[in-house]
């Protein structure tokens, strides 16, 4: 296995092992996501709206808020323990850290979604709606990929700055906007069966993901400058 991939894989496995050994962060993010589901479902029961009209927006607002919480964790562990320097020395090429942390963030986000999305589906009353499943899964996957990629890049930029926890969401929201628009429209297309009409947005999501997955290869060496 090439050194780049092997090192990224080792960091990824170490991060997951740490995450599952101290489940407090994963659990608190999951509880937050579940609370969002309940709050939205109670609030939206009071207004008359078709589930397919509101479900996409509610789904992505929930995912983005969960992502903000979950993604900040990726570099915070190293920052808190001071292990970032040791990891930078061991990794050599700093972009290895980006890909390891990106994969870790994407895995955590997808794990949370596996629980929260079906809950939202049921509680929002969308259970009776027919859905174009491949488009729905593609929208959720590509949207989550983009959130994880942008989140990891910004986390790398902010982790060594004072007030990182405040800076991260402020910088993340403007970058999440195009992703959010594409993801919401694709999800809605999957629910109302207008797959052809939203294919352009799906390509936009894929292009967004590609850019934010490749650009850090060039930038990350400067991002984590000490």
């Amino acid at each position: 296995m090439p050194s780049f991939v092997r090192k990224a894989w080792l960091i990824y496995c170490k991060d997951l092992r740490e995450e599952f050994r101290t489940t407090d962060h994963l659990l608190s993010t999951l509880v937050f996501g579940t609370m969002l589901v309940f709050v939205f479902s109670f609030a939206l029961q009071l207004v008359e709206a078709a589930p397919e009209a509101i479900f996409p927006a509610v789904l992505w607002v929930s995912i983005v808020f969960m992502a903000i919480l979950a993604l900040q964790r990726s570099f915070a562990k190293e920052k808190d323990s001071g292990a970032l320097d040791a990891l930078l020395l061991a990794a050599g090429d700093r972009s290895i850290l980006f890909y390891a942390k990106f994969l870790y963030s994407l895995t955590v986000l997808l794990l949370l979604e596996v629980i929260v999305v079906p809950l939202l589906w049921v509680f929002m009353g969308a259970a009776g709606t027919t859905v174009h499943m491949p488009l729905f899964v593609a929208a959720v996957f590509l949207g989550s990929w983009g959130l994880a990629a942008v989140g990891t890049l910004l986390n790398g930029i902010t982790v060594q700055l004072p007030g990182a926890r405040l800076l991260f969401p402020i910088l993340a929201f403007p970058l999440f906007v195009p992703l959010l628009i594409g993801a919401v429209l694709c999800t809605q297309g999957a629910l109302v069966g207008e797959t052809r009409a939203v294919l352009g947005w799906l390509y936009l999501l894929a292009a967004f993901d590609l850019v934010f997955t490749i650009v850090p290869l060039l930038l990350f060496d400067y991002v984590l400058e000490g």
């Binding site: 101290t22 562990k77 292990a83 320097d85 400058e225």
Partner: protein, 208 residues
């Protein structure tokens, strides 16, 4: 290209914003040398070590090192608290491709932590964490060892362990130690480089 196993630092400069942390630092250190880097707080000692380690970018001058792996023992132990003592060592050894269970045992015995190998790093005392950080730096078969105030937080036993490491690794490494207390080196001979306001004021190499 520099000579193998010789660290050469020439006219090194580091500026962050308007502040010039290192103004002109030059020295050389060869195999078997133990250099004590001394100076008041803010003299630029840690910045110098971070640049040599490759953790921080220099603003000018050069650092030449062709000797192999660099072991860095920072002020903080730089460990993963939820991983055990053994897992911490194994993770970094695998990252450097130097993993060997026998070596893990040897190093944990060297720093008197073998009995604690299954304990999470977070429950160890500060001194024990520092000893584990030393073992981690040695795990990668370093040719250059950089220590940032390693005697701080070590008790008498810990200091004895560190002196043993400094002596045992001396013939095959170049060792740079930031310290305010060179008396802790005991009988180990050393060369002192004193920094003041980002310049070498004693023991450097002005011809470099």
């Amino acid at each position: 290209m520099g000579e193998k196993n010789v660290l050469v630092v020439r006219h090194l400069k580091k500026q962050i914003g308007a502040k010039q942390i290192l103004k002109d630092v030059s020295f050389q250190a060869g195999l078997g040398e133990l250099l004590a880097i001394t100076g008041a707080n803010g003299a630029g000692k840690t910045t110098l070590l971070r640049i040599i380690a490759g953790l921080s970018r220099k603003s000018g001058g050069e650092v030449i090192w062709n000797g192999g792996n660099i072991g860095y023992i920072a002020h903080q132990p730089m460990l993963y608290g939820s991983l055990s003592v053994q897992e911490n060592l194994a993770f970094f050894a695998e990252m450097y491709g130097t993993m060997s269970q026998r070596r893990v045992q040897e190093l944990l015995e060297l720093v008197d932590l073998w009995l604690y190998r299954l304990e999470p790093a977070a429950v160890l005392s500060r001194g024990m964490q520092q000893r584990l950080a030393i073992a981690r730096a040695l795990m990668i078969a370093p040719a250059l060892l950089l220590y940032d105030e390693p005697f701080t937080s070590l008790d008498a036993d810990g200091r004895a362990v560190l002196r043993r490491v400094l002596a045992e690794y001396r013939p095959r490494t170049v060792q740079l130690v930031i310290t305010h207390e060179p008396q802790h080196f005991g009988e180990l001979g050393y060369r002192e480089i004193r920094l003041k306001d980002g310049r070498v004021v004693e023991g450097g190499d002005r011809s470099a």
